[in-house]
């Protein structure tokens, strides 16, 4: 019954998945998301946690109609490349948005939503998605 569910694998990333904590290189100042232990730019191992604002813009997107297993109930859903205002580019689902509303450069903000559930008795995985900002 059921698919493999590796709790530790997900639990290890809660901080970045729930609230977008990235890393910043203490040497060159480059910001990374997901977090890195070594700076690919300058090679430094001096990295510190940094809370990202969760604000960004849509670079490109697609509508997923044939999702991977575990995501069937959500179909169809938009998947987008988002450039965060701090620089990093993340791949994430868009939510609370109509397909025809999505556009290049559209401003979005991070929300924490349910990503997937592992069967009826498994873990519920929460993580970041993006949506058009709420006023103000």
């Amino acid at each position: 019954m059921g698919r493999p569910m590796q709790v530790a694998r997900y639990w290890r990333h809660f901080k970045e998945k729930y609230r977008m904590v990235g890393t910043k290189c203490k040497e060159c100042g480059e910001i990374y998301f997901p977090p890195r232990q070594v700076c690919p730019k300058c090679g430094s191992r001096e990295m510190e946690d940094v809370q990202l604002s969760g604000k960004g813009k849509v670079l490109s997107w697609t509508i997923v109609r044939n999702p991977p297993s575990g995501f069937e109930y959500f179909r169809p859903y938009p998947l987008a490349l988002i450039e965060l205002e701090e620089g990093p580019i993340v791949l994430a689902q868009l939510t609370d948005v109509d397909e025809n509303q999505i556009d290049f450069g559209m401003e979005v903000e991070m929300v924490t939503r349910k990503i997937r559930e592992f069967e009826g008795d498994g873990l519920i995985l929460y993580g970041y998605k993006f949506r058009p900002p709420i006023k103000p």
């Binding site: 809660f14 069937e72 924490t112 939503r113 349910k114 519920i124 929460y126 998605k129 006023k135």
Partner: protein, 350 residues
């Protein structure tokens, strides 16, 4: 000692935030499916596929933090009131605490008392801060409530919630508590047994001995203890399972309709259960003036009510705009039909 609940230190709300999902279904659309043509409300909110009580709680908590402008690491307790816990066993409060960056130096737990779990968490927060044990405590009430398809609860059971950060009273306090009063009796008007998907209710028994008796006793008890009469309050928010019940309470207590309508959202978002009065109060705080006194009475089946008297302070003026207003969420809406509603409520088996 009197019946009034009042801590040694004066405490108040330093931050509040609400959240209501964007999807709506009209009552007449539900009626179309089940052959009903008179409705207790106009329309109700529906959670998105990726929303549950926890995600609603997270966004409400983040809005409360934006207004409070405090470091989440200073929160010593996060208590989450809900009757739609995503996990039957495993705290929801820890997920919210992690998501807002409040872990690990705090107490966290889930509260359940049907629709009054949110104010239950608030009572506890007032005590925690008022005793000097904690600088800040956060109380949240949120639900994606269940109603059996075709049952009249399906017309109102909706999704939403709000969060309140309680701190010691000072000039930064948005509104302070003058006192509270809780009234509880064992009245089985509504329940959901272990492993059951939907609650059952006592039909007409839910009105007189349950809702009306607890709310009116709590409101009168609080006013008696504080030596106030209904005319001392500028706003009143009562638990809102529909539109008629809270307006009837106001009429019985002699509170004019105009003081109740700003916090009465059930007609357009439905009954958000543990979130109901918390969302209503947030809408009032969005518009209230410094000096206004607010009567807040929740109700939870089973049954009981918590009553609070709240006085708005000057700080509200500069802080209310730091997060989206409750009506920003209420007015952000997309209508769905019953087929999509059933999908959002996870009624299909793939």
């Amino acid at each position: 000692m009197g019946k009034l609940l009042k801590p040694n230190k004066e405490v108040g709300i330093v931050g509040y935030g609400a959240y209501v999902p964007m999807y709506r279904i009209k009552a007449e659309e539900i009626g179309r499916v089940w052959g009903v043509n008179s409705f207790p409300i106009q329309e109700k909110s529906v959670n998105n596929l990726d929303e549950d009580a926890i995600t609603i709680g997270i966004e409400a908590a983040r809005n409360a933090l934006k207004r409070a402008q405090i470091d989440p690491k200073e929160i010593r307790a996060l208590w989450f009131g809900t009757e739609s816990k995503p996990y039957a066993v495993k705290p929801s409060a820890t997920v919210i605490a992690e998501a807002i960056g409040a872990t690990p130096d705090l107490d966290a737990a889930d509260f359940e008392f049907a629709c009054k779990a949110g104010t239950e968490a608030l009572q506890a927060s007032i005590g925690f801060v008022g005793s000097g044990m904690a600088k800040y405590a956060m109380a949240i009430g949120a639900d994606t409530s269940q109603g059996r398809p075709g049952d009249h609860l399906e017309f109102t059971a909706s999704a939403g919630g709000a969060a309140y950060i309680v701190g010691e009273k000072d000039s930064e306090t948005l509104a302070y508590f003058e006192g509270s009063y809780s009234y509880v009796t064992d009245t089985p008007d509504f329940w959901r047994r272990q492993h059951e998907h939907y609650p059952r209710h006592g039909n007409r028994f839910t009105g007189e001995p349950a809702y009306f008796h607890q709310i009116i006793s709590a409101a009168k008890g609080l006013m008696e203890e504080l030596n106030y009469s209904p005319s001392d309050f500028d706003y009143a928010v009562f638990h809102q399972p529909n539109v008629k019940f809270p307006l009837t309470v106001a009429k019985i207590l002699g509170i004019p309709k105009e003081k109740v309508l700003p916090g009465l959202l059930s007609g357009i978002i439905g009954n958000t259960y543990s979130g109901a009065t918390l969302v209503g109060i947030s809408a009032v705080l969005d518009i209230a003036k410094p000096g206004d006194r607010i009567l807040w009475v929740s109700f939870g089946s089973g049954a009981g009510s918590d009553a609070f008297s709240l006085v708005v302070q000057d700080a509200i003026e500069e802080k209310r705009d730091l997060a989206p207003k409750t009506m920003d969420y209420v007015n952000r809406k997309k209508y769905i039909d019953y087929a999509l509603y059933a999908k959002h409520r996870s009624k299909y088996i793939l």
